[in-house]
C-alpha cells in the first residue's frame, strides 16, 4: 500500500519535499503543510497588500488579507500608509467590512470602541465601567510593518525581515520597467476581476512564469487575434527567457521587443492599435501618440514577486490562499492615471478580452489549475515535475539561472525560496 511521504517527515524535514527539479505532491494537498506555510511564509515575508493609487488621499482605505488574516490598508491624514489587522481589540469584531472607501477612523459596530486612521485607540463608550488602570495605549489596532516600492505597498508581520528594498533586490529594475506602461502618466488601477479556483495557491504561483502552457491552453484566445497580434503571442520560438531573480522572484520575458516601452518609439503602429492611434492623433502630438500606443498593450514580460504578486502585461495578479484547496485570484486592471480616455478604454477592453469569468484566457487557466488539483489526488507519493530547462541553471549573466522562455526556471526559483522559508 502506498503511504504518503508527508507522514514520514517531521517539520524540519520539509526540505525533503522540494528537490532541485521536482516537488512532492503533498505540497498541493496536505493541510498541515498549508498551516505551516501561513505561519512560515505569509506570516514572515513581505506580502503585497495594495497599489498606492488605491489609497491616494488621506483617509482612503481598502480591506484585504495578509495570508488568512483580514486587514485594512489606510492612509492617515499625514499621508502615511498603515496596515492594521481588521479586528477590534475588545471582542474581535471586524471594524470595517467595506471593500474600499474613505474614513476618518474606524468605529467598531458591536460596542463602539473607536480607532484613528493610524490605529491608535480613540475611546470606548461608558469608560467608567473599566478599572482605573485601563490604558487606551494598550488597545490600539494591531499594525504590521509597511514599506513600498514604485507604488507597490507591502506589509509584513516580521520585524526582523530584511528591508523591502533588500527583499525585492534584482526584481526592482523589472518593476521600474513594468511601470513604464503608464506611457508618461502615473500607473493607476481601474477595477478588477476576482475569482476562486478549487486548488492550491502554488499552482497559480507557478503559472505566472509558465510559457509552456500558452499555445495549448490559450489556443482559443490566440485564434481570436488578428494575424499580427497572433504572431506576437506566439513567443515560444522567440528570444524570450526566464530568469531567477533571487528570493523566489522571477521574470519571464515573452516579447523581448516590449521589455522597455520607452524604446523603439518610431516602430510602425500595430494593426490592432491603428484605430486608437487615429483617435489620439486629434489631441496629441505624434510622439505622444506613439508613446501612449506602445504602452497600451502592456509590458512584454511577466514578473513574479514571491509569494503573492505578479506584474503581468497590463495588470497586477494577486493571489490569496483561502485553504489548502482553495485560492482567490484578483486581476487588477492598470490604466494611465490622467491619461487619454481612449487609451484607457482600449486597456479595459484588452483586459476583458483575456481576463475574468468571461474572458478568453483566464477561465481556461482556471480549468487547467482545477484539473491539477483533482489529478494530484492520484498517486499521493508522486512528484510534480519542474525539470524543463535545467541546462540553463547557472548560465545566466553573473551565473544566475536563466532558461529559454518555456523553461521552468521561475518555478524552481519560487520553490527554492519556499524551501528556505519552510525549513528556517
Amino acid at each position: 500500500m502506498q503511504e504518503a511521504l508527508i507522514d514520514k517527515v517531521s517539520d524540519s524535514d520539509l526540505g525533503a519535499l522540494v528537490k532541485e527539479d521536482r516537488v512532492h505532491t503533498s505540497l498541493y494537498n496536505d493541510e498541515h503543510i498549508f498551516k505551516l506555510e501561513m505561519e512560515k511564509i505569509f506570516g514572515r515575508t513581505w506580502v503585497w497588500v495594495a497599489h498606492e493609487s488605491e489609497v491616494p488621499n488621506p483617509g482612503d482605505f481598502v480591506t484585504t488579507h495578509v495570508g488568512l488574516q483580514p486587514a485594512i490598508v489606510v492612509r492617515d491624514k499625514r499621508g502615511t500608509v498603515h496596515v492594521h489587522l481588521n479586528r477590534c481589540r475588545h471582542r474581535a469584531a471586524t471594524v470595517c467590512e467595506a471593500r474600499k472607501g474613505n474614513a476618518k477612523g474606524f468605529v467598531c459596530p458591536y460596542h463602539g470602541w473607536s480607532y484613528a486612521q493610524d490605529g491608535s485607540m480613540l475611546g470606548v463608550p461608558l469608560p467608567k465601567g473599566y478599572s482605573s488602570d485601563f490604558d487606551k495605549a494598550d488597545y490600539a489596532l494591531v499594525s504590521l510593518r509597511v514599506e513600498s516600492y514604485a507604488g507597490l505597498i507591502f506589509a509584513t508581520f516580521n520585524d526582523e525581515a530584511p528591508s523591502l528594498d533588500e527583499f525585492l533586490g534584482r526584481a526592482k529594475p523589472w518593476i521600474d520597467l513594468f511601470m513604464k506602461q503608464g506611457g508618461g502618466y502615473p500607473v493607476g488601477t481601474s477595477g478588477e476581476h476576482k475569482f476562486r479556483f478549487p486548488g492550491n495557491w502554488k499552482i497559480q504561483l507557478e503559472n505566472t512564469t509558465d510559457a509552456y502552457h500558452f499555445p495549448i491552453v490559450h489556443k482559443s484566445f490566440l485564434n481570436s487575434l488578428d494575424a499580427q497580434a497572433e504572431e506576437l503571442f506566439s513567443f515560444l520560438d522567440g528570444d524570450g527567457f526566464v530568469e531567477d531573480l533571487g528570493n523566489g522572484h522571477s521574470v519571464m520575458v515573452m516579447i523581448p521587443e516590449l521589455v522597455d516601452l520607452e524604446e523603439n518609439l518610431d516602430a510602425p503602429i500595430p494593426e490592432r492599435f491603428k484605430e486608437l492611434a487615429e483617435e489620439l492623433a486629434a489631441d496629441y502630438s505624434d510622439e505622444e501618440v506613439r508613446r501612449i500606443v506602445r504602452a497600451v498593450g502592456g509590458s512584454g514580460f511577466n514578473l513574479n514577486l514571491f509569494p503573492n504578486l505578479a506584474c503581468s502585461m497590463a495588470f497586477f495578479r494577486v493571489l490569496r490562499p483561502v485553504s489548502v484547496e482553495e485560492t482567490e485570484i484578483r486581476h487588477i486592471a492598470i490604466t494611465m492615471d490622467g491619461g487619454p480616455e481612449a487609451a484607457n478604454r482600449k486597456r479595459l477592453r484588452l483586459h476583458e478580452h483575456f481576463q475574468g469569468p468571461m474572458g478568453f484566457g483566464s477561465p481556461d487557466d482556471a480549468e487547467a489549475w482545477e484539473r491539477v488539483q483533482r489529478g494530484s489526488k492520484a498517486g499521493p507519493d508522486m512528484w510534480i515535475m519542474l525539470n524543463r530547462g535545467t541546462d540553463g541553471d547557472g548560465n545566466g549573466p553573473g551565473g544566475v539561472n536563466r532558461g529559454d522562455v518555456s523553461a521552468e526556471t521561475g518555478m524552481r526559483a519560487a520553490y527554492d525560496m519556499w524551501k528556505r522559508m519552510m525549513t528556517a
Partner: protein
C-alpha cells in the same frame, strides 16, 4: 408608422433567447441581435458609463461573434467543460418605450450544473428590444449579477 412593441412580444423574444442559450444554439442567438447591439455584464452595481469601466463582458457585434466562435471551437478547455444551464427569465416590467423600441427589466434565475455541483446564479437583466424590417432584435442586454462584486468564477456559457 411603426407599431409599438407589446410586452407579450418582448417576453416571447426573451424566452426564445433563454431557450437558445440553454441549448447552446449560439448562431441562432447571434441572429437575435441588431449588429449595433451591446451585450454587457458589469462588475460594479449602478454603473452607467460601461465603456469607461471594467466589465466582465462589453461586447459589440464583432466581439459577440468572436465569443461565439470561441465557445463553439473545440479548443477552449473551459468551454468544453462548461456547466449545463437551465434558466428562467420572468418578472418583466416595462421601463421605457419609444416608437420602435421597448425597455424591459426582468429577473433571470439561472441554475448551472457542473462536476457534481448545482449552483444558482441570480441576476437582474435590462433589455432593449427594437422592431426592424427583419423582426424584433435585441439592441441592449445588461446582466446585473447579484454577486458581481464578489469572486465570480469562470462562466463557460453565455449569461
Amino acid at each position: 408608422m411603426t407599431q409599438k412593441i407589446t410586452l407579450e412580444e418582448a417576453a416571447a423574444l426573451l424566452w426564445q433567447e433563454a431557450d437558445l442559450l440553454d441549448h447552446r444554439e449560439y448562431d441562432a442567438w447571434l441572429n437575435l441581435w441588431s449588429d449595433d447591439g451591446i451585450y454587457v455584464v458589469p462588475i460594479e452595481k449602478g454603473v452607467e458609463d460601461f465603456a469607461n469601466r471594467l466589465n466582465y463582458a462589453y461586447d459589440d457585434g464583432e466581439m459577440r461573434r468572436m465569443r461565439v466562435a470561441r465557445l463553439k471551437s473545440s479548443y477552449s478547455m473551459s468551454a468544453i467543460a462548461a456547466a449545463d444551464t437551465i434558466r428562467t427569465v420572468s418578472r418583466f416590467v416595462v421601463t421605457g418605450e419609444r416608437s420602435n423600441e421597448i425597455d424591459i427589466r426582468a429577473a433571470q434565475i439561472l441554475v448551472e450544473y457542473r462536476r457534481d455541483k448545482t449552483r444558482p446564479i441570480a441576476a437582474n437583466v435590462d433589455v432593449t428590444v427594437r422592431r426592424t424590417e427583419n423582426g424584433l432584435k435585441l439592441v441592449k442586454k445588461v446582466i446585473w449579477l447579484a454577486h458581481s462584486e464578489e469572486a465570480v468564477s469562470g462562466v463557460g456559457y453565455l449569461l
